[in-house]
C-alpha cells in the first residue's frame, strides 16, 4: 500500500475536549467539492501554481482517506505536468516531491527537494518535506532531528502531530501518545480529517506492538471521525481477525474489497476466508488481489513491493515472488517493517540460501 502517513492539512490549536467537528460525511463531501472546483483548471498553464499544487495535495489527502490509488495516480500525473509548466517555481517541485514520496520513490523525492532548494523554497518547508522522506526511508534519526526542532520552535497541532507519528512509527509508543495528546490540545479547527489521521497512526502503532485492544480503540476512533476512512476500516478488520472475530472482519472488509482499487482489502478477505476453511470463496478474492497486485507492481514497483510481498507470502502462496519483492522493498527502505518482511520471505524460501 502507498504511504498512509500523508500529513493532512490541519488547523491550529486549542482544547479539543469540547471540540465540535464537522461530520465526517460533510468533510469528505467538501473535500470532493474542493477537488471538483479545482480540477477544471488542473492542467491549464495559465492556472496559478499555488492552486495546482493545492489540488495535488487535496487529491493525495483524499487518496489517503479513501485508500484510492487512482487519486494518488492523478496527483502524480498533475505534479509531473506542473513541473513541466512551472520549472522555475519551487512550489511545483515541492508538490512533485510529495507525490513521489507517496509512491515510495524516495530518491526522486529528495532530488526534487534539492531543486526546490535551489529555487529558493523556504527552509522550514524543505526541512519538513525532507523529514517526511527520511521517515519513509527509515532514516528515523534524521527525521527526528528535524521534527523535534520544528516542534520546539513552533509547537502547533501539525508539528507535534508529525512528531507523534514519527515516534509511533519508530517504536517510541509512550512519547507518541504524549505528543498526540499535546497535539490534540492545540487543535482549533473543525475538520475531523487531521484527527482521524492521528488516531489511525496510533492504531497502526499498537497493531505492530500486538496491543490489539488498544489498536481497535484508536482505529475505531478514526472511523468515528470519518466513517469512510478506508485504511482505518481495513486495519480494524485486521485487528478483528487477529482477535478471532472473522465475521466482523469480513463484514468490514468486503465493502472495501468490492469497491477499492487497492488490492489489500481483497487480499485480506482471501486470507481470512482461507484461514476459516472457505477455500473456494477465498480463491475468488485471491485471484482478484493477485491480478491487481501484478498490475500495480508493474506500474509502481517501489510503492507496492511490500504489500504485494506480504500477499504472496500469505494468501497468494508464491514465496519466490514474495522474496523478490521483499528484497526490492528492503533495497528501497531499511525500515524495521521491511526487514521483518524480508526475514519472513527468506524463511518461507527455506532459510539462509535465500539471502
Amino acid at each position: 500500500m502507498i504511504a498512509a502517513a500523508y500529513a493532512a492539512p490541519a488547523a491550529r490549536a486549542s482544547d479539543t475536549t469540547e471540540a465540535v467537528l464537522t461530520h465526517g460525511t460533510i468533510a469528505l463531501r467538501n473535500l470532493d467539492a474542493q477537488i471538483e472546483g479545482l480540477e477544471p483548471d488542473a492542467t491549464l498553464r495559465s492556472a496559478r501554481v499555488e492552486e495546482r499544487a493545492r489540488l495535488i495535495d487535496l487529491l493525495a489527502l483524499r487518496g489517503s482517506i479513501l485508500g484510492s490509488i487512482s487519486d494518488y495516480e492523478r496527483a502524480q500525473e498533475l505534479a509531473h505536468l506542473l513541473v513541466r509548466d512551472a520549472a522555475a517555481d519551487a512550489a511545483a517541485f515541492l508538490a512533485r516531491a510529495r507525490t513521489r514520496a507517496l509512491f515510495h520513490r524516495f530518491g526522486d523525492a529528495l532530488d526534487d527537494l534539492d531543486v526546490a532548494e535551489r529555487l529558493a523554497a523556504e527552509a522550514e518547508i524543505l526541512n519538513r518535506e525532507r523529514a517526511a522522506v527520511f521517515q519513509g526511508l527509515g532514516r528515523y534519526d534524521e527525521a527526528y532531528a528535524i521534527r523535534v526542532e520544528d516542534a520546539r520552535r513552533c509547537p502547533t497541532f501539525e508539528s507535534l502531530g508529525a512528531l507523534s507519528t514519527l515516534c509511533a512509527e519508530s517504536g517510541d509508543a509512550e512519547r507518541a501518545l504524549r505528543l498526540q495528546a499535546e497535539s490534540l490540545r492545540r487543535y482549533r479547527g473543525v475538520s475531523p480529517l487531521p484527527l482521524a489521521v492521528l488516531d489511525f497512526q496510533i492504531g497502526v502503532m499498537w497493531m505492530h506492538y500486538g496491543e490489539l485492544d488498544r489498536a481497535r480503540h484508536h482505529l475505531s476512533a478514526a472511523r468515528l471521525y470519518v466513517p469512510a476512512y478506508a485504511p482505518a476500516q481495513g486495519h480494524l478488520a485486521e485487528v478483528e481477525a487477529e482477535l478471532g472475530n472473522a465475521e466482523s472482519a469480513i463484514a468490514l472488509l468486503k465493502p472495501l474489497a468490492m469497491t477499492s482499487d487497492d488490492p489489500d482489502y481483497a487480499a485480506q478477505v482471501a486470507r481470512i476466508l482461507a484461514d476459516a476453511g472457505s477455500a473456494e470463496d477465498s480463491g475468488y478474492w485471491r485471484n482478484l488481489a493477485a491480478t491487481r497486485y501484478d498490475e500495480l507492481v508493474a506500474l509502481h514497483p517501489e510503492a507496492f513491493a511490500d504489500h504485494a510481498a506480504d500477499f504472496w507470502l500469505g494468501a497468494g502462496a508464491d514465496p519466490k515472488k514474495a522474496l523478490r519483492l521483499a528484497r526490492m522493498n528492503f533495497a528501497i527502505r531499511k525500515t524495521p517493517r521491511a526487514y521483518a518482511l524480508l526475514s519472513r520471505a527468506v524463511a518461507a524460501n527455506d532459510g539462509a540460501n535465500a539471502w
Binding site: A8, P9, A10, A11, R12, S14, E18, A19, V20, L21, T22, H23, T25, I26, R29, N30, D32, A33, Q34, I35, E36, G37, L38, E39, P40, D41, A42, T43, L44, S46, R48, R54, R188, G189, V190, S191, L193, P194
Partner: protein, 373 residues
C-alpha cells in the same frame, strides 16, 4: 481574491473559509437592509455548509466620529447578531444537496429552512437564503501578483478572470432594519465563522474586501514583520475590538503595502505621517462595512462614506458594498491614485453573470466546468 483562501488555517476547512461580504439597502425598498456572506471559494457541486460552524452576521450602530485626516467611526458596544447553523444533509444528491438550515433572530426565535431553495426561509421581518450560487466577485489574480513582483502595474486591457464560472456557498439575509436593529441610520457589519460548541471559537471574520489579501498578504514590503504570515492572527480577532498587542503589526503591514500600491503611478497621493502611518490605515483597520440606510442605494458605493469623511464633505450614497460593483477597480483607484487620476482598470469588468436586484440577488450556480485533461 476578495478574501478567498485568506490564510493557511482556512485551507483546512473550506466551508468555514469566508471569501466575501456585501451590505446594501434593498434596491427599491430602503426599509430593508440586505447582507450577503460568501464562503467556500471555487466550490464544486457537492459543497455543503459545515454542521460544526456558526455563520454569524454582527451589526452595531455606528456614527462618524471625525472627518479629515483623522477620519474615524464611533461604533456602539451593543450589537445585534444573526446566527446560521446547518444540519448534516440527509439526502444522497451529489450536486447542490438540500441541507436543513436554521437561523436565530436577535429576539431568540429559531427558524428553519432548506438550502438551495430560492424561496428561502422567512419569519416576521426577515427573509433568508442559503445555498450554492454563482461567484459574484471578479478579478485577475495573476496581474495582481505580477504587479507585486515587478513593482509595476501589470494590468492588461483585457485580463483573465480567475473566478470565471465558479461558485460559492452564500447566505443572504434581508430584514427591516428599523425593527430589528433600532437606531440607525448608520450600521457597521461584519460576518464571522465560529467553531460551534459551549465556547464558540472564531475561525474567520470578514468586513471590507481585499484587506487580508491585496492589502495584507504581501510580506516583502513590510520591514517590521517580513516573515510573519499575519492573516491567521488577524482572522482570529474581534473586528470591533482588536487586541492592542497586535495592532502595531497590522498597522505596519498595512502602512507598507498601501505605500507600495500608492507608488505605482509614480506619484504620492497618500503621504505618510511622521510615524510612517498611511492615511488609509486606521480606516481600513476598522474592518467592517459601514452602510447608511438613510442614503440611496448606489451600484458603486464601496468606501464612498469613508472618502467623503476624509474629504470633509457629506457622503452621498449608502456606502456598504453592492454585489455587482467592480470593487477591484474601486480599490486600486483608491490605493494607487486616491481618486486624483483616472479610474484604474484591472482588465476584468464583469463576472460570468450579474447578480439581480431581486431576492436572493446572487445568480444561480454555474454548471460544472469541463475538466481539462
Amino acid at each position: 481574491m476578495s478574501d478567498h483562501f485568506s490564510g493557511p488555517r482556512a485551507l483546512a476547512d473550506p466551508a468555514a473559509d469566508l471569501i466575501d461580504m456585501f451590505a446594501f439597502p434593498a434596491p427599491g425598498n430602503p426599509k430593508n437592509l440586505v447582507v450577503v456572506m460568501d464562503a467556500f471559494g471555487k466550490a464544486g457541486p457537492s459543497a455543503v455548509f459545515s454542521d460544526a460552524v456558526i455563520y454569524r452576521f454582527r451589526f452595531r450602530r455606528a456614527r462618524i466620529a471625525a472627518t479629515g485626516p483623522d477620519a474615524a467611526f464611533a461604533v456602539d458596544a451593543d450589537e445585534v447578531a444573526f446566527d446560521f447553523t446547518f444540519d448534516v444533509p440527509k439526502g444522497n444528491e451529489v450536486a447542490h444537496p438540500r441541507q436543513r438550515a436554521h437561523y436565530r433572530t436577535p429576539g431568540g426565535e429559531t427558524v428553519s429552512f432548506d438550502t438551495n431553495d430560492e424561496r428561502g426561509g422567512s419569519s416576521r421581518d426577515v427573509r433568508v437564503f442559503a445555498g450554492q450560487r454563482s461567484e459574484p466577485f471578479f478579478l485577475d489574480v495573476h496581474t495582481i501578483l505580477e504587479t507585486a513582483e515587478t513593482r509595476q502595474l501589470a494590468f492588461k486591457k483585457t485580463g483573465s478572470d480567475t473566478l470565471y464560472g465558479t461558485n460559492v456557498l452564500a447566505i443572504v439575509l434581508e430584514f427591516e432594519w428599523a425593527k430589528l436593529l433600532g437606531g440607525g441610520p448608520m450600521f457597521a457589519v461584519v460576518c464571522e465563522t465560529l467553531r460551534a460548541g459551549p465556547r464558540p471559537v472564531r475561525i474567520e471574520r470578514l468586513g471590507r474586501p481585499e484587506i487580508k489579501n491585496v492589502s495584507m498578504s504581501f510580506k516583502m514590503f513590510d520591514l517590521v514583520n517580513r516573515d510573519l504570515e499575519i492573516r491567521d492572527l488577524y482572522n482570529s480577532e474581534d473586528a470591533f475590538a482588536l487586541m492592542p498587542d497586535y495592532v502595531g503589526a497590522y498597522r505596519a503591514r498595512l502602512n507598507a503595502n498601501l505605500s507600495f500600491w500608492d507608488s505605482l503611478d509614480g506619484k504620492i497621493d497618500w503621504p505618510v505621517d511622521e510615524s510612517g502611518n498611511h492615511p488609509l490605515t486606521s480606516l481600513l483597520l476598522a474592518d467592517f462595512l459601514v452602510v447608511d440606510v438613510s442614503r440611496p442605494f448606489h451600484e458603486t458605493s464601496y468606501f464612498e462614506i469613508e472618502q467623503a469623511m476624509l474629504a470633509g464633505r457629506p457622503h452621498a450614497t449608502a456606502g456598504g458594498r453592492w454585489l455587482n460593483e467592480d470593487v477591484m477597480d474601486s480599490i486600486f483607484t483608491l490605493y494607487i491614485n486616491g481618486g486624483n487620476g483616472p479610474r484604474i482598470n484591472d482588465g476584468i469588468d464583469a463576472p460570468i453573470v450579474w447578480s439581480s436586484k431581486v431576492f436572493p440577488y446572487l445568480a444561480p450556480p454555474n454548471p460544472p466546468k469541463v475538466t481539462a485533461r
